[in-house]
């Protein structure tokens, strides 16, 4: 795709075309499917990455839950690039792709992302109409059936944390959840990439309770954060969501965990507030490079702990 760049922010049309190109150029490693469509009718493309082999386990990773968090979709694109470029060269990546599949959803909230490019750079939610309200959109990361709308979410359609009219009321979250439900037997880890605050979180966010494998998740998060910091010394805070930052019901990592995916993490990428949601493009590369280290660490851990 002529206009696509991994070190720039790409609009939706460019990303959509890129998904087709990357799959066409790497047919033995990447395939593209559509898992649903958005409220405004856009196809939700999913990339499956990995060498074809029987009985493979998988890792699901999504980006772009919140529209204005542009560094998030940039990372998903970066990850795909690194995978195809380093397969056969980097031993860890080669092993990962030989033995695991990665499902990569480059943008969940596509309508919102388009809106940030065309109307309001600071838009966060989906773009669905809320009956009986002039306010638009639902917070997709409070729309899943994980303590839905009980804690840290709003029932007001005008709120930035509106949980929606029902769990999975948004077509985007329903499509994501349906796909994961349909592939539960193979998906061993769930990663969701957000931005702001440099955090590596794991369940739970909808309760202050700790998950049964808390110790394991905490040690993985600690080691992954250390890996991440090894490149540019970027400091991440890690821990269970509710205790580490604040409670938030309906989030995708909690939901995935309760579905039985025991390795479930939320990344909040750079930065801690200097730029906020407006991270300069010159920081895409270092941000993605360091994040890749952490993702590879987690993937390798999952591979070694069947």
């Amino acid at each position: 795709t002529a206009s696509h760049s991994y070190e720039k922010y790409n609009n939706w049309d460019t990303i959509a075309a890129w998904t087709a190109d990357i799959a066409a150029q790497n047919p033995d490693l990447v395939s593209r499917s559509v898992i649903g469509e958005t409220y405004e009718g856009r196809p939700m493309y999913l990339l499956k990455m990995g060498k074809s082999a029987p009985n493979k386990k998988a890792i699901f990773m999504d980006c772009g839950f919140h529209a204005r968090e542009w560094i998030s979709p940039a990372f998903c694109q970066w990850f795909v690039k690194e995978a195809v470029e380093t397969y056969g060269k980097d031993t860890v990546m080669t092993t990962l792709l030989d033995k695991l599949d990665f499902y990569v959803l480059p943008i969940v909230n596509i309508d919102g992302y388009v809106y940030t490019w065309t109307n309001d750079r600071m838009w966060r939610k989906t773009r669905s109409k809320n009956p009986g309200s002039i306010c638009i959109g639902t917070d997709p990361n409070r729309n899943l059936d994980a303590g839905w709308c009980t804690l840290g979410a709003s029932t007001s359609p005008c709120s930035s944390t509106y949980c929606g009219s029902a769990p999975e009321s948004e077509k985007e979250t329903k499509a994501l959840a349906d796909f994961i439900r349909g592939h539960l037997s193979t998906i061993k880890a769930y990663l969701t990439i957000h931005s702001y605050s440099q955090l590596l979180l794991f369940p739970y966010s909808y309760t202050y309770d700790l998950p049964p494998n808390y110790q394991e998740l905490n040690s993985i998060a600690k080691a992954a954060s250390k890996e991440l910091a090894s490149l540019h010394n970027t400091r991440y805070t890690y821990g269970p969501g509710a205790k580490t930052i604040y409670p938030a019901a309906g989030g995708s990592d909690d939901w995935a965990y309760d579905q039985g995916i025991k390795y479930s993490f939320t990344f909040e990428l750079r930065d801690t507030g200097r730029y906020g949601f407006l991270l300069p493009e010159s920081q895409i590369k270092p941000t993605c490079e360091e994040t890749l280290l952490a993702v590879k660490y987690i993937a390798n851990y999952v591979l070694e702990h069947p």
């Binding site: 760049s5 991994y6 070190e7 720039k8 922010y9 542009w70 065309t118 109307n119 309001d120 750079r121 600071m122 917070d139 840290g152 709003s154 709120s159 930035s160 944390t161 702001y196 605050s197 930052i245 604040y246 409670p247 938030a248 507030g273 200097r274 730029y275 906020g276 949601f277 407006l278 991270l279 300069p280 493009e281 010159s282 895409i284 590369k285």
Partner: protein, 94 residues
Amino acid sequence: LQDHSFDGQKVFRVLPQNDEQVEILNFLASIMEVDFWQPDSVTLVRPNMQVDFRIEAEKSFEVEDLLKESGMEYQVLIDNLQAAMDAQFDSKAR
């Protein structure tokens, strides 16, 4: 092209240290549009929590005065959001 102009909009970082200062942020959010960057909503704000929020240009002086009056610890993270928005496209990659 964006419909919105973000000229003069500011992003503040505040550190409310007690319930009274949290209440001031609630009051702010009740009388004007406050876009919370961190945490996601004013309802999640607690004492000693770092809070980042965006304010429209016309209200920024009023907000700053209120923060000063209340004695709340604060800093201006982004002085002009439009400038930050323009600066995000700083890549020399292509």
